[in-house]
Amino acid sequence: MSEPLTGTPLPAQGEVAVVYAGDYVNKLSGQRIERECLTRMERGCRALVINFRDTELVNSIGVSILLGVIDEAERRGARVAFSNVSLHTLKLFELLGLTRLVVLADREEDALATLEEFSTTPPGH
């Protein structure tokens, strides 16, 4: 099972970070995603893209951790986008109510573009 990768150095404040979920989002990999996201938000990142390109399966523990990430992002005024979500995983997220809380994009580039403006706009504006 692949580790979630960022592939890039830690971004400076205001930039958008991309976190890659592995092929199976469960408790362990979910916690890794959570750790990566929190680290980036602590360094000032206000937009996160979680890329599900390699993800075949997500279990309910993984979903609940993702919800935790979304909650934390909201608390910090950050936005979250999911990209490259397979049809099956998307239906799962819909069933459990995640899709109302995040930006959805087919590709990582689209998600980055959508979130770019959020990363440079101060909260409240």
Partner: protein
């Protein structure tokens, strides 16, 4: 029956409820006697030896005791230690009062106490004081009067007295055969039956199956016994026996592997008593059961001086009270083992024992009751069970032949080890038999395509065809033949014992029936069916050999009109098929048999009836649910499920495994998955020992149990797993099983 949760305190039961396997149905029936709506008031329990009947009754006691507001359970086992019927009657009265009052006080500790009658009076609640005092006074008066019959009837009448004052009970009598040995004016067995039948209170009378009715009838049949429900307790089914071995091994901390487990079940013939004895011995000796050698070593120890040996020794003492008679009996029993048929004339036995007619009859009656031998008036047949035969050998060699103990131990162990592979091979052959007896028993004048019984026609038309296509072809066939109505079917060996040397009993069946609707000579027919063992198509020589053998059997048994049916898994060669046609014998392959079975059971054909089943066992550790998901993916692909459906199945299974891991209370930490392909659906069961269901399970799958994964993530995920499972699968149900709960999910194939 209420869900039994683990760690319920035991009162009389010696085994924890969750460890008591294979008797769920019987336990439900017995505890059902406590229901106010129960139609049956009395039940006779016919028990095979060593079938665990006493533990079943004790489990019933505990179950009923825990049901507050219901009748008080009373368990009473007769014993020779009472010596006289009056002592047994007194002990029954004391037991009845103790256990009834214990239940009414909700005081389980009182059950195992032995308070005096006067102490019991002090313990009685105000609403019970009057009838308890009256009973005790009546008893003391009757005791003083010296009228034995009146005293016994009074004691046995206690449940009726109690019921008249609102104290309901369910009374269970165990070991009724021990009552026969008690001194007294009246036979206690019939007295118990007559009295119980008059109580109007639910009761159970348990005893050896071969003697129970005789013990209760006495010299005249009792009208009271007619109409009583009869429950038969056999040895465990093999699957339950395996579960018992595993459960005991785990509880006692005895290392066990599957191969040894299976040998334990086969060699001890699924006897709960023998299995428990061996596992207890393993624990006591800090031994493990991870090899045949370890098991056989323990087994021989048990046979020579452990609980197993003592059990049989005790039974022999019961049969033959004096040492001289016992030695004589051992000799005769041992010598009978060498008789190929196992049968000897009764006269020979009587002479060899040197017993008079009365003593001989008593010995035979007891041997028959304990199922150590079968007495058929003119001949005696030693019971051929493995453990009994081993016991006879070691006992004879030690006690009669006075051989050195070390020699007997070594020989017995070596023989047991040499026998073990044969025992298992026999078991596997039995399991793999095609079930001809069952098929024949299903014959009832049905019309079936002739192709199913004529291999040559089948091979020409259907060989290599897919199941559904073959089914369609069979449905359209014009040439049919009418099967007879089979009224009796049994193994060939039971008609003609020499057949035992030629094939396994399960593979050769003789069925008697009628070919027309009228039961007349002209319609009488005997089918002789055999499963021919051949790795490839059965050749002409083999086919001819079996036809001749069946012909010999038919002649030896004096059968009139016969029909031969040979079944060979891979079918028959062209020459063999030709021979079958020449002799007007039927021939079928396994595939034909499957289609026939499906037709007879009302299914569409082999494609519908046949089901593949896969099973995997996973440890509860990180991500092992993925292994299950990948396995089910492969199975679903074979069934040609759509990709979306496969993902749904995988996700549901992952959630089910996580659910099992979270809710299982078992320390073995394993999840069992079964995948059953049934035609147009895939049925998945997920279970784990000690799996408990969330406290409530409303339709949306959100459980009220706060332990259901709360705390994972800010919003938690209570009930998400079950919600996902219900949404993604077509049918979902939780099934109660002996050891907890099992989740069963079904996905239908939509093409």
């Amino acid at each position: 029956m209420p869900v039994r949760t683990p760690r319920q305190r035991r009162i009389l039961a010696r085994v924890a409820p969750e460890q008591f396997v294979g008797r769920g149905e019987q336990l439900r029936e017995l505890t059902g006697l406590g229901s106010a709506r129960a139609e049956q008031k009395g039940l006779l329990l016919f028990a095979a030896p060593q079938s665990g009947v006493s533990e079943l009754l004790r489990q019933t006691f505990d179950e009923l005791f825990r049901q507050r507001g219901g009748p008080a359970p009373v368990y009473f086992a007769f014993t020779r230690a009472d010596a006289a019927t009056t002592a047994a009657g007194r002990r029954f009265l004391q037991t009845f009062l103790t256990q009834t009052l214990a239940h009414r006080r909700d005081d389980p500790a009182l059950v195992s106490a032995t308070p005096t009658l006067r102490t019991l009076l002090d313990l009685a609640a105000p609403q019970d004081y009057e009838w308890v005092e009256r009973l005790i006074q009546d008893f003391e008066r009757a005791q003083g009067e010296g009228d034995e019959r009146a005293l016994v009837r009074l004691c046995l009448g206690a449940p009726q007295q109690a019921a008249a004052h609102g104290a309901r009970s369910v009374v269970m009598f165990d070991d009724i055969h021990a009552a026969e040995a008690l001194r007294g004016e009246a036979a206690l067995g019939p007295t118990v039956a007559q009295t119980a039948a008059q109580w109007g209170v639910p009761f159970v009378i348990a005893g050896p199956r071969r003697r129970l009715l005789d013990l209760l009838n006495g010299s005249l049949p009792l009208a009271a016994l007619e109409g009583l429900r009869r429950l038969h307790l056999e040895r465990l089914k093999e699957a339950d026996a395996r579960a018992l071995v595993e459960g005991l091994a785990q509880r006692l901390g005895v290392p066990l592997n599957e191969e040894t487990r299976d040998l334990v079940v086969q060699q001890l013939e699924a006897s709960p008593y023998l299995i428990a004895a061996v596992l207890d011995a393993a624990r006591a000796n800090a031994a493990s059961l991870t090899s045949f050698r370890e098991f056989q070593s323990l087994y021989v120890d048990e046979l020579l001086g452990g609980r197993v040996g003592r059990r049989y020794a005790s039974a022999l003492e019961d049969v033959a009270a004096t040492p001289a008679l016992r030695r004589g009996l051992l000799r005769v029993l041992y010598e009978s083992l060498s008789n190929p048929s196992g049968k000897s004339p009764a006269e020979v036995w009587m002479k060899r024992l040197g017993a008079d007619a009365l003593e001989f009859e008593r010995v035979m009656r007891l041997l028959h009751m304990h199922e150590l031998a079968s007495f058929h008036a003119t001949y005696v047949e030693t019971t051929p069970t493995t453990v009994w035969r081993d016991f006879l050998r070691v006992s004879y060699r030690l006690q009669v032949a006075a051989e050195p103990r070390a020699l007997v131990v070594a020989d017995t162990l070596v023989e047991a080890l040499k026998r073990a592979p044969q025992t298992m091979a026999r078991h596997y052959r039995r399991e793999s038999a095609l079930g001809l007896s069952d098929v024949l028993r299903g014959f009832n004048f049905q019309r079936v395509p002739e192709s199913l019984l004529r291999y040559e026609r089948w091979a020409r038309a259907y060989r290599g065809m897919a199941g559904e296509e073959a089914r369609a072809g069979l449905a359209a066939e014009a040439d049919t033949l009418q099967l007879p109505q089979v009224v009796h079917a049994a193994s060939c060996a039971s008609f003609h014992p020499p057949m035992r040397q030629l094939c396994d009993e399960e593979r050769c069946t003789i069925a008697h029936g009628f070919e027309s609707g009228v039961y007349a000579d002209a319609g009488e027919v005997v089918w002789l069916a055999v499963e021919v063992e051949s790795k490839l198509e059965a050749g002409r020589a083999l086919t001819e050999l079996w036809l001749e053998r069946l012909e010999q059997v038919a002649q030896a048994c004096g059968f009139g009109r016969v029909r031969f049916w040979l079944v060979s898994r891979e079918g028959f060669s062209a020459e063999a098929a030709e021979l079958l046609d020449e002799r007007d014998a039927y021939g079928s392959s396994r595939e034909q048999l499957e289609h026939l079975t499906a037709l007879l059971s009302g299914g569409g054909g082999a494609g519908d009836a046949a089901a593949d089943e896969f099973a995997i066992e996973l440890p509860m550790s990180e991500d092992t649910e993925l292994i299950a998901a990948h396995t089910v993916e492969q199975i679903a692909r074979r069934m040609e499920f759509q990709p979306e459906a496969i993902n749904q199945i995988k996700t549901a299974l992952v959630e089910a495994c996580i659910n099992a891991a979270e809710h299982s209370l078992s320390t073995e930490r394993k999840i069992y998955n079964r995948f059953r392909v049934e035609g147009d659906k895939l049925v998945i069961t997920v279970s784990s020992r000690g799996l408990s269901v969330p406290v409530t399970l409303p339709e949306n799958g959100v459980a009220a149990d706060k332990n259901n994964g709360g705390g994972e993530g800010a919003k938690g995920r209570r009930g998400w797993g079950l919600k996902l499972i219900r949404t993604l699968m077509d049918d979902v149900e939780f099934e109660r099983v002996d050891d907890g709960t099992r989740l069963r999910m079904t996905k239908y194939l939509r093409k």
